[in-house]
Symmetry: C2
Amino acid sequence: MASEWLSIGEVADRTGVATSALRFYEREGLVEAERSDGGQRRFHREVLRRVAFIRVAQRVGLTLDEIRAALATLPKSRTPTVADWTRLSRAWRARLDDQIAVLERLRDDLTSCIGCGCLSLRACALYNRNDVAASLGTGPRYLLGDRPPEGVV
Amino acid sequence: MASEWLSIGEVADRTGVATSALRFYEREGLVEAERSDGGQRRFHREVLRRVAFIRVAQRVGLTLDEIRAALATLPKSRTPTVADWTRLSRAWRARLDDQIAVLERLRDDLTSCIGCGCLSLRACALYNRNDVAASLGTGPRYLLGDRPPEGVV
DNA sequence: GTACGAGTTGAAGTTCACTTCAAGTCAAGG
DNA sequence: CCTTGACTTGAAGTGAACTTCAACTCGTAC
C-alpha cells in the first residue's frame, strides 16, 4: 500500500472530497490522473495539495472557472514555490476584503435604516445601493447587481 | 394612468425586478395580485414595499424560503409598523455580523498562512477550519462544511 | 376599428458544482 | 479460484432563483 500513486478512494479519504467530485474535477481539468493497467485512476501525491487549494479557493468565493484560471498561472513543470502561493494568497485577501466591505456597508445601511421603516425604493440606501453583486446567493449570477432600478417610487 | 392598481410592467419598472421574477414570486406566494376583467395581474401599491423587502433580504443572504417565513411574521391585515421592521432588521444584522466574522477569520487564516506554503491538510487552519458553511458558493448546500476531512495528509 | 405593445400560460431551459444511478470491470485477500 | 469492495463509464438528477419560449389574449392610442 501507499506506493507512489494514490487511488481515487485514497485521495477522497485524505482530502475529504467525494470520489464523484474528484472525477468531476478531472473532467473539468482541475486535476490530472494517470491510469492503471485496468483503467483505474492513479493520482500523484501532488494532487492532494491541488485539491486543498481548490477547496480553500472555493471558501474564498472563487468559481471553478476562476480556480482553473488561477491554477493555470502556476508553473507547469516544477512544484509551486512559496512565492507562487504568496502571489495567489494576496489576490484572495483582496477579494475577501472586498466581500467584507460590502457586507459591512450593508450592515451599516441596515442599522441606520432601523426604525425609519422606509424601504421606499427612492430614499433607502439599503435598496438602492447596488454593490458588487452581493457576492452571495445561489443560482444565476446575474441575479442582483444588474439592471439598477431606473423607475422610482 | 396610475390608478389604485399597478400592472406587472409598472411594478417591474418601479422596482427594477423583471416581470418573470414577479410572476415567479406570485407563484411562490411571496406577493399577491388581483386580476383585471381580462385576467391580467393588478398589484396593490403595497407590493412595491414587499418587493423591496424581498430584494434587500436577498442581499442579506436569505433564501426565498426564509423570506417567505419572515413575511409570514408580518401582520396579515394592517400595514407593518416601524416596530415590525425593526424586529426583522435586528435579525438581519446578526446574520450579517456572522457572515462578516466568518470572512474575517478566513482572511486572517489566509494572512497568517501566506508564505507558509503549507496547504498541507493537516497543519493548515485554512483547510481544516470548517466554519458555518462558508455562506458562499452555489449549488448543493451540503457543499462545504459537511464531511470534515477525517483522513489526513 | 385596428394595430401593436403589454400581458397570459405551462413547460422547459439555465447555471453551478456536484451527486446518483445503472450496469458493469478491476484488484486484492483468503 | 472466488468473493467482495473499490473502481469504471455516460447519462441523468439536484436545488435555487429565476429566464425563455411558444402560442396565444388584452387593452389602449390613434
